[in-house]
Subunit: 521 residues, 2 copies
């Protein structure tokens, strides 16, 4: 497969388009181990930018990072009843700790080196962390504990997709401990809001915030909040979750604290996480048939400068102009648009932090301008600057936006301020476009016939707001028949009358409110 | 064990002192899995500062980050003959991918879910990365590939020690690909120099740079360079390694490239890594019987301000003064001393980058000043600022250095500039003290009797420069009899005549040069 073959168009086959894009833009590759991926430098650069932005917000809200072991004794998993149900089916198990050479010189597992108790590779770290919190937490003075971990986790998924669902993935998992249910509730909502800000104001992806149904909540949680995104083929993606664990893990691991009045009580917990799946979400939300479209705040290359010229003398001039512009851009701080207004403001979050512009000058002489245009569109540079000999004579350069393709010619002296403006417009514009798409893709459905029609085809059907009778049976039946799931019960209704009582579209039984159904990745 | 018990003195038992310090200062804790550790927030903060400094230097020298899978097919390990010898003995092996509940409701490994080919957890990633490079690298235009990975790795060590040697540890591993042996050689020396700069100018730990003997080189390398540190009990620590892998892995994984003149050749490789063991090295190099002594560039808390006062009215004033000073410190940029001169300069490295001062204000009212002094000494805050009511009346404050214990009284208006000066003095002073200690702990030994006497006791013996006949047999015999190993053959001789020929201290056979022996962690 050569990069020059182009991508499968989105309209032809969305999943193929996505895979083509991820592979050809050099974001990731398949690994030799089934279901695993290699995150290549261009893709990892996106994840690093995501990590930095999230980590800054976690620290601004008082969290510290720590690191807990990858390998967890098998017995830990069974201490919390719901948790083991949820995770046992997809655990990688370490049973031996040595290889050896057999008689024929082949490498085999040494049967002598069998572990007394098998270990699982963490699918999530609640168990090993709450085992540790038993010694960390003695008194109300030790609370709250506000810890986050950046780590790899393993879940043996049957069906995988690059970035969106892989056997090994990278993520962060926050694990906090609190003296009261209410403190834990505030924390779980606060971190959901951090995720919303990140999704909307960094990724440019509008998300629903809401609560999961009992069937969809985390195995071991009291309740689970989520942010849900919609991507271009009308499918939803669960982009992040924040769980209120109540005292479930504290009871399972016997973590009690001395209260201010001398009593003893179990500790309240939250956990919350986002993963490399956000990279896939961002790609699917914005990109086009030419390749990656990335919001400037998370684009590895915000500006690419292409100095052109057929002979060395001309090139020496365009190169000098390109280098000067690159230097100026690197020294200039881009701030971008304000954050979107919040329904649940997090006081500690500061607004956008200005940062130096990430710029590359492409001086490869063996590649034609056409090839370079093509490659940087594929790789999602937000703004392309063309400096040719005629531009230089006229004292101008050409700026091309990746998102709209629009080209403008500007005086060289104005280029930096124009680029600053364009980056801000692209950042806002991508969010606005994705928001408009979600508006168009959201509908109310009130009858069974309409509901079944909505999910008739194979693909995504947008967000379908419909009454549901509140039972797990109906939910399971819909999932089975229509492969649609309840993405969440939104905090803010999508339609004015969503919270009015009605009748379930499938069973006709009474319903308290409409919920949001979709096909999901 | 209460934090108030104090630490075992270094002079009584150095390993016990170290363990006490790590546990009581809240740097790390033992994990429920044998040989693993939990890195607690205060310890992880040191690692994060190390990561940031190293990552900046890797990027300045042209490297990009990527991520490769944790799980490696068992067969990969056997492709490079020396590599499998070196690593098979200490591999964690994944054999199953599912748990289930048995008849009695106990969680067991599902025998139906056995992997066709077992996976090992990466002890290092050469194999999986060179398998990928086969598709990444086609032509000389694709070279060099300059990639680094931040990851966890697993080596099933028999004897473990917090930070210094654990079954799971965190590290970075650079894996680069080059067109020629010489390009790879330059890379391996360049990255060793990056490590030296990091050890000396960030950690404040002087290191020998040199080459490992054949017995001590990496399994699969052509040759291995290292930085070697000496800590306070006279033992050495291998703090970082940089390997020239020649074409060994390219041959094993068939990675060839088209050369500029149309031929085909195997690719040349390097790999280089440092790990969380650096945290342990830094602790052992500088800390004292009161707790952690950290160089300011890597100290999580550079300045702690203790505002004091018995009643609320007074406290409102000292608190205000403390907050004002903290704000000023956070806004001020500390640069610290210049980097040490280099024998092998890396052009791309810029000097020290000024950064905001990391400061905490300790307003806990339930703890006495004495307890706070004790805790912040234990946790290694570089400078303690005391602001009491009398200080405030006099318009002064007290500054106490963690490294020397020295206290000075300065006008409040001068505090920020004085703290800047003190941090710089502490950063240089720790390096100078460690360097003087190494000088005192280095000796020439020319006879067998002296050599055996040097390693008579159980503990460290400093750096012993002695002639060696160059054979692996003699090396092994010395390791066996005296538990001393050749740390390296230094690039720069420690003594004027080290590179003159002589006779081996153990065998009397001819020797080309003195090498450096030590007991090591």
């Amino acid at each position: 497969m050569s990069a020059k073959d182009g991508l499968t168009p989105r309209a032809t086959n969305f999943p193929d388009w996505y895979n083509d894009l991820v592979l050809k833009a050099g974001l990731a590759d398949y690994a030799p181990v089934r279901g695993c991926m290699i995150i290549k430098p261009h893709g990892y650069a996106i994840w690093e930018l995501m990590q930095r932005a999230l980590d800054d917000m976690f620290k601004a809200t008082g969290h510290e990072n720590a690191y807990f072991p990858l390998m967890i004794p098998k017995s830990f998993l069974s201490k919390e009843a719901a948790h083991v149900e949820g995770f046992a089916k997809e655990c990688a198990v370490v049973t031996h700790y040595r290889l050896k050479l057999d008689d024929k010189g082949a490498v085999i597992v040494d049967p002598e080196a069998k572990l007394e108790e098998e270990m699982i590779l963490r699918p999530t770290s609640e168990t090993v962390i709450w085992d540790a919190y038993r010694t960390w937490i003695q008194s109300y003075r030790d609370l709250p504990v506000l810890v986050n971990q950046w780590a790899n986790v393993i879940r043996w998924e049957r069906r995988t997709r690059l970035f969106l669902r892989t056997t090994e993935f990278l993520w962060q998992e926050g694990h906090t401990a609190h003296a009261t249910f209410d403190d834990a509730e505030i924390e779980s909502r606060r971190m959901l809001e951090v995720y919303r800000v990140f999704a909307e104001d960094f990724m440019g992806v509008p998300v629903l915030t809401g609560i999961k149904t009992e069937s969809e909540k985390f195995a071991g949680a009291d309740h689970t909040y989520c942010i849900e995104a919609l991507v271009q083929d009308g499918k939803a993606i669960q982009a992040g979750t924040s769980h209120h664990l109540a005292q479930n893990f504290a009871r399972a691991f016997d973590v009690q604290f001395q209260t201010q009045d001398g009593g003893r009580e179990y500790v309240y917990a939250t956990s919350w996480g986002v993963s490399t799946r956000l990279v896939g979400t961002m790609i699917m939300a914005h990109s086009d048939d030419k390749g990656l479209v990335a919001p400037p705040r998370l684009a590895p290359v915000q500006v690419v400068i292409l100095p052109m010229g057929r002979d060395e003398e001309i090139r020496s001039k365009t190169y000098a102009a390109a280098d000067a512009m690159a230097g100026e851009l690197r020294r200039s701080l881009w701030r971008g648009p304000d954050f979107t207004p919040s329904e649940y403001p997090v006081e500690e979050l500061v607004g956008p932090v200005p940062s130096p512009i990430r710029v590359k000058v492409d001086k490869r002489e063996k590649e034609s301008p056409g090839v370079k245009f093509y490659e940087w569109e594929l790789k999602g540079a937000c703004v392309r600057v063309e400096i040719g000999p005629r531009d230089l004579e006229a004292g101008t350069c050409v700026l091309a936006r990746r998102d709209t393709g629009e080209k403008i010619t500007v005086p060289l002296g104005d280029a930096v301020s124009e680029i600053d403006r364009l980056l801000t417009e692209i950042q806002s514009g991508l969010h606005a476009r994705a928001f408009a798409f979600r508006q168009e893709s959201t509908r109310i459905v009130n009858t069974k016939a309409e509901f079944e029609a909505a999910f008739e085809g194979e693909g995504g059907a947008g967000l379908v707001c419909a009454h549901w009778d509140g039972t797990a049976e109906t939910e399971a039946m819909i999932a089975e028949k229509l492969r649609a799931t309840i993405r969440c019960i939104p905090f803010v209704p999508l339609n004015a009358d969503d919270n009015e009582p009605g009748v379930c579209v499938m069973t006709g039984n009474p319903s308290k409110q409409r919920v949001v159904f979709a096909r999901a990745y």
